[in-house]
């Protein structure tokens, strides 16, 4: 009996471990090798003249341009400026959005008042607002930062509201039966319960904020990654255009990673559930 249990247990453990592990290794290898293969093909194609070098310079040329931009400090200078704008915009747009969203989820009358306004203005392409923002804030930081803030705001506010509304009513019932007062209910049920969607909203918001920020920099700024991209196009320095593009992509990736890190800290109870 014990013998049988042991073998059952052994095969039960061995199987899932052994099979996916081999699969996981192959998967990881493919994930690393495929971009390398693409770069290799690209390099060969560019040198052999199969693709137009004016639009698709060889990766080695891009790396050189990238290196130049780094060593002269140009790229870092503009990166810092964009980073600052995105960070500031995310705070200015995100913090009130989360607070308003949570409040809307908690209080019906507030939801009824604000939801139509948000729903009516949400479909408007945020980029269309930039001329108006330029008019209001001028060419200074305000127009760029507010652009990011608007991008973050909408996604953060709706998700925070949905976060509260998505909490199963039974949790509120539990709190009430234990004699929880209003603030207790908010503190112990509504806030932690809404946290997963609040962070999902911020994650999406930061992505949109970055898009709008870079766009605003292209249209009306004298610095930042968007400006750098635009001036690269205007001076036809394609290699530096690609290099800047790469840095912008890394910035996007890094900001999402940052929010994911925040999620792991603030929502520890979902960590393993979400990852497995």
């Amino acid at each position: 009996m014990a013998e049988q249990g042991a073998t059952l247990e052994r095969t039960g453990v061995q199987r899932p471990r052994w099979l996916p592990q081999a699969g996981a290794k192959t998967e990881a290898a493919v994930q690393v090798l495929s971009p390398i293969a693409l770069l290799l093909i690209w390099e060969i194609a560019a040198r052999a003249g199969w693709v137009d070098q004016r639009f698709f310079p060889a990766p080695s040329a891009i790396v050189r341009a990238f290196w130049d931009a780094i060593t002269t400090g140009v790229l870092l200078h503009h990166l810092k400026i964009t980073l600052w704008r995105v960070l500031l915009g995310t705070l200015i747009g995100g913090v009130p959005a989360v607070l308003i969203g949570l409040a809307m989820g908690l209080w019906r009358w507030l939801r009824l008042t604000l939801d139509p306004i948000i729903a009516a203005t949400y479909p408007l392409p945020k980029s269309a607002l930039f001329p108006l923002l330029l008019l209001i804030f001028g060419l200074g930081e305000g127009s760029k930062v507010s652009m990011v803030a608007i991008g973050v705001f909408y996604l953060a506010v709706t998700n925070a509201m949905e976060g509260v509304l998505a909490i199963s009513p039974v949790y509120f019932d539990v709190a009430k039966t234990f004699g929880a007062r209003r603030w207790d209910v908010i503190r112990t049920v509504a806030l932690p319960g809404a946290m997963p969607l609040v962070l999902a909203g911020l994650r999406l918001g930061v992505g949109t904020g970055l898009i709008l920020g870079v766009l605003a920099e292209m249209l009306g700024a004298r610095d930042g990654l968007g400006y750098l991209l635009w001036s690269a196009w205007q001076t036809f320095s394609v290699s530096s255009l690609w290099a800047t593009l790469f840095v912008t992509a890394v910035l996007g990736f890094a900001s999402v990673q940052l929010v994911d890190f925040l999620r792991r800290v603030l929502v520890p109870w979902q960590r393993t559930a979400g990852r497995r």
Partner: protein, 274 residues
């Protein structure tokens, strides 16, 4: 004259250790545009330390009745009374049917929840939470989050959370209905033992006749909608009880037949709408 004499003599005796009193409770629901009567003049009294099980066909309003007792809903008319606790906190705790353990709290935080709301001293909270975690067999899982636990373990957390505040009355709304049969039997035995040991007054709602007989001191059978008290059946088995041995008792079969007869009648008749 005779009436006047007997009234004051019997009333205090009957009321002496009554913990829960429900009288003529009526509750309507709006279903679309139609008004449905969920509870129609329901009444009962429960003495201290008694285990009352409410059974009835689905939709007979038994959960509604429990929610009214818990203050989660209000009756349209009638009276619900529960003996107040000495410390001014709710005199009851409720164990819910569904998944009701907070996913964002560890086992320890969940069990300590009611105590924290009651502003119990930190050291006492730790002690009492640890005591109840041990009591329901979850020692070693204090720091686990609910998603790491099985359904049976989660329901144990829910039970520990209710017992931890040491309520006079326990309200249980089909707490085992989502569990498999083995786990259900195990938890039935544990709850039966705990309630006996802690001298709790219990109101337990279920649709399982078997559960009603194995756990209850009294079984209140409800009619189909509108829910009324159809019959109150005393269960003769002594406590403490072994929930498996009870099933082997010849009286178990008789009781099962009797209660099933009452419920089957209601199920066949279906809801009576006005």
């Amino acid at each position: 004259m005779h009436e006047a004499l007997s009234e004051p003599r019997t009333a205090p005796v009957a009321q002496r250790d009554v913990v829960v009193r429900v009288r003529d409770v009526v509750k309507h629901f709006m279903h679309g545009r139609r008004q449905l009567c969920a509870l129609d003049r329901v009444g009962f009294e429960l003495r201290e330390g008694r285990f009352l099980v409410i059974v009835g066909p689905s939709g007979c309003g038994k959960t509604t009745l429990l929610r009214i007792l818990a203050g989660l809903e209000r009756q349209d008319s009638g009276e619900v009374w529960m003996r107040p606790s000495r410390d001014g906190h709710p005199p009851f705790a409720m164990v819910f049917q569904e998944q009701s353990v907070f996913p964002w709290m560890t086992v320890r935080e969940n069990v300590a929840y009611g105590l924290r709301l009651r502003r119990v001293r930190g050291r006492d909270i730790e002690e009492r939470a640890a005591h109840w975690i041990r009591k329901v067999g979850l020692a070693g899982f204090e720091r686990a989050y609910p998603h790491q636990l099985s359904g049976g373990m989660k329901q144990r957390v829910s039970i520990a959370r209710a017992f931890a505040v040491d309520p006079d009355v326990l309200l249980m709304d089909e707490p085992f209905s989502a569990l498999d049969e083995q786990m259900r039997t195990i938890l039935q035995q544990e709850v039966s033992t705990l309630c006996e040991e802690q001298q709790k007054t219990v109101i337990f709602v279920t649709h399982s006749i078997d559960e009603a007989i194995t756990l209850g001191d009294e079984v209140l059978v409800m009619t189909h909608r509108p829910g009324q008290v159809k019959r109150l059946i005393p269960i003769p088995f002594p406590r403490p009880r072994d929930v498996v041995e009870v099933r082997a008792d010849p009286r178990y079969g008789e009781l099962y037949e009797e209660i099933w007869g009452l419920i089957a009648e209601e199920v066949r008749r279906g809801p009576r709408e006005a």
